[in-house]
């Protein structure tokens, strides 16, 4: 049995009420080994969130196959955890209860659950906020809770939909280090969607750039920066000679795609 996530010739087509249709994804194929960290970049409308929602099981693809650890994916499951940009914490529960949500759903014995939750809250640095209500925490702390909640369930794959998108620049840097640390310590397979090219470079062993209309994989990179960044100062990593080169290349690529979209819209108008 092969471990990891295999996305085979995935296509997604939405029918529109006015009779038209949108080809959100076309022929997307990917193989992720267990423990790989992949970041996904692309201009808006390239289908990256759709891709993530299909992997999470919230949407059913129109064709193609998704195989995780040898079985096909249908619908959401605890084996695929998800971290959202914001608004996904349960504000009627304390930090501890939020993190313990997955184990509670599984019916984990309370002593064991307590241990798991305590450990994870230590890992994300929230040991002093266990009994707080989540709405009392700052945005960065809330995302730490979201990460811990996802890890508490011990999923095989973690899907992150712009998890740091709503944070300020400083908090974002700290959280990027935390994501790398958690990835290394837990060895999870992670797919991370982001709008920030730097973040994608820093947090992706693999990086795919998607193109729109139809949504497809445009280019794929294998990068050393995530490994370098584990336990290191990310600002130092950014000084790596290759970093700037890659950043400019990808920025130009996305820039061209955006230009093309704009051009097409202007032609249509």
């Amino acid at each position: 049995m092969m471990t990891g996530l295999s996305i085979q010739d995935l296509s997604m087509r939405f029918e529109l009420p006015n009779g038209g249709a949108v080809q959100a994804l076309e022929g997307v194929s990917l193989d992720l080994k267990a423990g790989e960290l992949m970041s996904v970049l692309g201009p808006s409308g390239c289908g990256k969130t759709t891709l993530l929602n299909i992997v999470a099981g919230f949407l059913a693809q129109t064709s193609g196959k998704l195989v995780l650890n040898g079985h096909e994916i249908h619908g959401p499951d605890a084996e695929r955890g998800m971290v959202f940009q914001k608004g996904a914490l349960f504000e009627w529960m304390s930090v501890r209860e939020n993190v313990g949500f997955g184990p509670s759903m599984k019916g984990m014995p309370s002593a064991e659950k307590r241990e798991t939750v305590d450990h994870l809250l230590d890992v994300v640095g929230l040991q002093d906020f266990k009994e707080k209500a989540v709405y009392e925490l700052s945005g960065g702390m809330q995302q730490r809770v979201a990460l811990a909640r996802c890890l508490a369930n011990d999923p095989d794959v973690i899907l992150m939909d712009e998890p740091l998108g709503a944070l300020d620049a400083l908090t974002r840097e700290k959280m990027q280090s935390l994501v790398l640390k958690l990835w290394k310590e837990t060895g999870k397979t992670i797919i991370l969607i982001t709008h920030s090219v730097e973040e994608a470079l820093l947090l992706g062993e693999r990086l795919i750039v998607m193109a729109p209309r139809p949504g497809r994989i445009h280019k794929e990179y294998r990068l050393p920066f995530a490994e370098l960044g584990v336990g290191a100062d990310l600002r130092e990593v950014k000084k790596h000679p290759d970093f700037g080169v890659k950043r400019d290349e990808i920025l130009a690529m996305i820039w061209d795609m955006e230009e093309e979209i704009m051009g097409r819209t202007e032609d249509a108008a």
């Binding site: 999470a56 099981g57 919230f58 959401p76 499951d77 605890a78 695929r80 955890g81 998800m82 959202f84 940009q85 914001k86 608004g87 996904a88 914490l89 349960f90 504000e91 009627w92 529960m93 949500f101 997955g102 759903m105 599984k106 209500a133 709405y135 909640r149 996802c150 369930n153 999923p155 899907l159």
Partner: protein, 424 residues
């Protein structure tokens, strides 16, 4: 006229208190963050209710109430001019067969609730004899002056002057303590000076209402104590509301979670929502009579749609990320319901419950006005029929206080039970 005067006093106190409080007293208050804001006009968060204004506002209401009812709580010089009370007299001149004669009418003006007999007076000389009459305050009375005169109207006697001032039929003469109008048939009609105060029949003084409150408290009203009247009303509201919530909340959840339920009940709920519960009273009385069952069904219907809509919007208001997150954390449908949808919808449901309780309270009073054996609404309706204005006012105040109390309790419960409201 009196109304304009009252409005002028009210505005005067409003403006006067404003200047005194803001220019004199406010100078001494502490400077907190909000008070240091320079932009307050347009910044709603900088507008806080002025505590002084609140206190003065309430006192002003009682002050004007007391002023225009001659309340014993206010010193006399603050009262609006009182209606005349006491004994007064006027003379009338009768002309008959070319001769004139004067006679005096003695009038006792007495408070309405004190039965008073006219004074005995000497008839006097001449063909016109002295008369005597008793008139209640705020009323007027025909003085049948020719009743005891030697020459009556039938024989051609005609009143031609009052207090020496000439008068004709249909005309009016102002005299001390009142006016005399000569009726179309030639009989003087005396109206004592009414003053500017409200008649107790229409508006009793505050202390009268208070005394009546104590009396109703100790003696009850119409075979039930005050607490029983209020208790019945409250019981109906709570029973109707609970039944409405019991059915409405699951219905709203079902409508928020299932296409079929949404399609099936949407037309019914959307149609019933704008129907005022008051409009259902006649039908409910026809079907269920005026007993408890009818009232509780009415309140059930009043609460049902509000609670159903609140629960429905509570479900649809859940951030889809929360539901997705719960599913990918391994929650089953039932667990999603129990741990995500229900807690997420509680703030909406509490808001709905507050609205529903308010509507139910209004509806129960209205239903009791129409027909009831007991209850707050019945109390004021029956009292008004017997012109017990003090009980009507007492009832209105109690209804207001209870309605306010219900809302405050619901808000406290909300703060305690759903502290995460508005924090998502």
């Amino acid at each position: 006229m009196t109304g304009i005067f009252i409005l002028a006093i009210y505005i005067g106190i409003f403006v006067g208190a404003f200047f005194i409080v803001t220019k004199v007293i406010a100078k001494a208050t502490v400077k907190d963050y909000t008070s240091l804001k320079t932009v307050t006009f347009g910044d709603e968060s900088a507008v806080r209710p002025n505590r002084w204004a609140g206190i003065i506002s309430i006192l002003t209401l009682f002050f004007i109430w007391g002023m225009f009812t001659g309340s014993a709580l206010l010193p006399k010089f603050l009262h609006a001019p009182a209606p005349y009370a006491g004994t007064t007299e006027f003379t009338y001149t009768v002309e008959a067969n070319g001769e004139r004669d004067d006679a005096t009418v003695t009038v006792i003006v007495h408070p309405r609730e004190e039965e008073t007999d006219p004074l005995e007076v000497e008839p006097g000389d001449g063909f016109a004899k002295n008369d005597s009459i008793a008139i209640a305050q705020w009323r007027s009375g025909l003085v049948r002056v020719d009743k005891n005169d030697e020459i009556s109207k039938k024989d051609g006697a005609e009143v031609v002057a009052i207090n020496g001032k000439p008068i004709e039929r249909g005309q009016k003469v102002k005299i001390d303590n009142g006016t005399v109008t000569l009726s179309d048939k030639g009989t003087p009609n005396f109206a004592p000076y009414k003053g500017w105060q409200m008649e107790p029949l229409y508006l009793p003084a505050p202390e009268v209402v208070w005394k009546r409150t104590l009396k109703v408290l100790s003696e009850g009203f119409r075979n039930f104590t005050l607490w029983e009247h209020l208790g019945y009303s409250l019981f109906r509201v709570i029973a109707g509301f609970l039944l409405g919530a019991l059915v409405g909340i699951p219905l709203g959840y079902a409508m928020g979670l299932s296409n079929w339920f949404r399609g099936w009940f949407d037309p019914i709920v959307e149609f019933m929502r704008p129907v005022p519960p008051l409009a259902l009273i006649p039908l409910v009385i026809i079907w269920f009579g005026i007993g408890e069952v009818g009232k509780i069904i009415l309140l059930f219907l009043a609460a049902l749609w509000i609670m159903a809509i609140a629960a429905r919007s509570g479900v649809s208001g859940v951030n889809i990320s929360k539901v997705h997150a719960a599913y990918s954390l391994g929650a089953s449908k039932w667990q999603i319901m129990r741990y995500v949808i229900i807690p997420n919808s509680l703030p909406e449901i509490f808001t709905g419950a507050r609205v529903a309780m308010g509507v139910c309270w209004g509806t129960v009073v209205a239903a009791e006005l129409v027909a009831a054996e007991q209850g707050a609404g019945m109390m004021i309706m029956v009292a008004s029929r017997f012109q017990n204005t003090d009980i009507v006012i007492l009832g209105i105040i109690l209804i207001g206080v209870i309605g306010f109390g219900i809302d405050m309790l619901m808000r406290m419960a909300e703060r305690y039970l759903v502290p995460w409201k508005g924090k998502g």
